[in-house]
Point group: C2
Chain length 492, copies 2
């Protein structure tokens, strides 16, 4: 494409370096694009109709030899990339957990990209390091986490603290790197936990995936956990690490944090709470009870990029004793040594993560809290939950459907119910067909899960541009598509 443009010199290139005027003009073009994109994304098919390898046919196979106007990249973005996107920003996106965003977060992330600072030690960027510490303390306050997880408390600097990472798996890896031997989680726990444990060198034979069932709404049963840990002790293993999930990805099950902490205490095992998604809801008093017992756990992680109006990537990890983390992750090469680090008065965030390099992620998180404040953030959570409840009520009022597990947050797990002698197999097939037809319309995108052996549709509310009317339209589409499928089943 645009071979003719390949020899046009980019505007504003002064000598060998791009100049600030370049930055301004490129960014204005990007802002115009974003503004148009947000206005039009609702009308684009949320799941694109493209075949594997499509982009290769649209774009040049090799990098251009010469420079081009930035307009060329923008034109190809519009013409070739956008039509192949799955639009996570679409208000018709109900799959997985929607990625959450806001104007303040995007602006904060933009400034971080432009400053392009690498705050691996305090000296390498005092402001970025301290802003990350501050943002984590603010968020801990919003969630009313125990003071033991905070960098600064009313009583001064404690042993607690945290770090902002890219993904939950990094949080798990950092923590799971600490102890050895047997580790535990419910079978509903995110797959990334089991991957992190394997990567951290745990013997796969000692990684326990504890079965859950409908009787606990797919949450971890502390009695079962205790029993399995005792059996391991009898087999001369050392139970060392338990991951409890508040809001599983599959169905939003909530493991009982306090009861798990009590079991862990018997064995002196480390308890990590993965609240990647539902942690955001805990800024509202009415959801805070899901973290009850948090004062007895060792670490907690949650991802504001999942539900707190902050764009990717932003995962917060707090630990009660930062020394247990830095003890395992600290490095001290000569070229990073400096007086501030050696004084012991500063946190070097590289020692709380796997890598050394790091973006200035604290800025966007701080900007979100600074701009929207607790009240607006709570309103955002409650609005999503209210829309999900409306959808749930619709499902419950239509006897063709069932809600498979109780709704805890803004995810509704539902399915077409087997009726009139329909077998479970046919019901599974009908539900899969429903999902696929919905997704093919381009008017909605839903993902599925399997709960208790049944194929279940996941309706996740919370895409940042979503309003009640989008949820209503999706429900109408679901009813209509279900009627068509039922008709066909009867005919067959």
């Amino acid at each position: 494409m645009d071979g003719a443009l390949r020899f046009v010199s980019p505007a504003g290139w002064t000598e060998k370096k791009p100049c600030p005027e370049d930055v301004r003009s490129y960014l204005h073009k990007a802002v115009d694009f974003i503004s148009d994109y947000y206005k039009s994304v609702e009308s684009l098919p949320v799941l694109p109709d493209v075949k594997p390898g499509y982009l290769q046919r649209e774009l040049q196979a090799a990098p251009p030899a010469s420079s081009a106007s930035f307009d060329v990249a923008m034109k190809e973005l519009r013409a070739a990339v956008v039509p192949g996107m799955t639009h996570w920003a679409s208000p018709n996106f109900f799959a997985f957990f929607p990625s959450t965003n806001s104007a303040a977060a995007i602006a904060g992330d933009l400034i971080a990209s432009a400053m392009n600072t690498v705050g691996f030690t305090w000296q390498a960027n005092p402001a970025a390091t301290e802003m990350e510490v501050l943002a984590l303390d603010w968020l801990a306050l919003l969630q009313r986490l125990p003071a033991s997880f905070m960098n600064r408390t009313a009583a001064g600097r404690g042993t607690g603290g945290g770090v902002i990472l890219g993904t939950t798996s990094e949080a798990m890896l950092g923590v799971s790197g600490l102890p050895r031997l047997a580790v535990y989680a419910a079978d509903q726990t995110h797959s990334t936990f089991f991957k992190a444990c394997r990567l951290a060198g745990f013997d796969p034979a000692n990684i326990r995936s504890i079965p859950t069932g409908a009787e606990t709404d797919y949450a971890l049963d502390p009695a079962k956990l205790l029993e399995i840990m005792r059996a391991d002790v009898d087999a001369v293993l050392v139970p060392t690490y338990i991951c409890a999930t508040v809001g599983t990805t599959s169905s939003n099950a909530v493991d009982p944090v306090g009861a798990i902490a009590d079991v862990a205490a018997v064995f002196n095992a480390w308890v990590h709470v993965d609240a990647a998604y539902a942690g955001s809801a805990c800024i509202c008093p009415e959801f805070r009870h899901h973290l009850a017992g948090g004062e007895r756990v060792d670490s907690i992680s949650m991802s504001p990029h999942k539900w707190l109006m902050t764009c990717l990537d932003c995962t917060c990890l707090w630990v009660r004793d930062t020394h247990r983390l830095t003890g395992s992750l600290e490095t001290n090469p000569e070229y990073l040594k400096n007086d501030a680090s050696e004084s012991g008065t500063v946190t070097d965030l590289k020692d709380m993560q796997v890598g050394v390099g790091r973006r200035f992620r604290g800025l966007k998180l701080w900007m979100v809290m600074r701009t929207y404040g607790a009240a607006k953030l709570q309103e955002h959570i409650r609005s999503d939950v209210a829309m999900a409840k409306m959808f749930e009520d619709n499902v419950r009022s239509d006897d063709r459907f069932e809600v498979v597990v109780p709704r805890n947050f803004a995810l509704v797990c539902f399915r077409i119910k087997p009726r009139h002698g329909m077998t479970e197999e046919v019901a599974d097939e009908a539900n899969r067909e429903l999902m696929e037809r919905l997704n093919r319309t381009g008017k909605a995108y839903l993902a599925h899960t399997v709960v208790g052996g049944k194929f279940v549709l996941r309706f996740a509310v919370g895409s940042s541009l979503q309003e009640e009317r989008h949820v209503r339209s999706a429900w109408e589409l679901i009813k209509k598509t279900t009627a068509e499928i039922m008709e066909e089943i009867v005919v067959e």
Copy 2:
């Protein structure tokens, strides 16, 4: 601060959601800030004069209850955050490796933040997945990597391919997760290698840090490697993994890739090449020889955020046989299953990384190559190298100094030479004093390393706004400060 503003409603908040007009207005404010920042950053102290805990005194200790105008966050950013920043964007930044940037990269990153897409599977975002594949192939072509590392070659789809990660440690962790037992690297290898190996569960006793010395310019000696690997075999260990570095962080030493691959072949060990920094230079034919032998290694990583005009974070990992990586990193939870993945015709990038979530990092990398083209990117590398050479010539022409190791790229390792009976201890002290005084001026920021037991200053050229005049000024400042220090030493 600004308590009075806490109850102002943010402009443009429609009902419960931020609207596109909000995004436009916030981003315009951010762009204005960035533009001003780039124009003024040269005059700001590159290393700030702040004490630990400073930011806490400047900003509110708790998150605001209510929302505020975005201007409040921007005002606090200017007033409290900027004065505490280490300015990596300053043209007077010569520490570590400078972070590299460009207008196209920032714009691409901004669009990625706004689209906020999570392309963990092909279906979850075909365009983002395919653009990442394309950008990696483009970059492989620019570096003339062997075709075996490419997703698509003239002959069709091969077994090679790659993934864009956040940092080099993620690349090392992914790869080191594959094999077990004894692992090897030169003592100059980045500390993150040893950390990744520990996290990957290697027995610390079997992680070999092979001593290097001046006789190989601190590069790994293949004969020594062979000897140590043979001794391990005699001790019934299995040598499985070698990390060769092209351009070490400490002094830019280059391990001989081909000779190391030959040694590895004897033991059938995996060879990873870490070219985080110097890989960018290999887009120029005159530097490509540093990767000679690359066709015999198993994996290569390099970070465009280090030297290819792409903002953080962006690390590229290529492997010759993607199945060996996905075999260890694949997960397949029910909620991520889809027809495209099951068809086997697509790459799901989640299976080539530790986590599941991922930013649309391919976009900025593609935009950089699409806009600047091979010629401008090569010009950028050559311009940095020319400035470093000019600095090196200056150092060599002044007999108070010595260049400690030969310059390979844009990093000059130099020191005040001990003369007139000055002991090595005094020389080390003088060099440390030189660095600290330079850094205190706010007019330059240099880091140090220790090479061959000596304290050495690292002068790293390449900050994106840097021009020849900044290098000249830094040299004048170094000469003047050295003269002062020498004077004092004589007086004492």
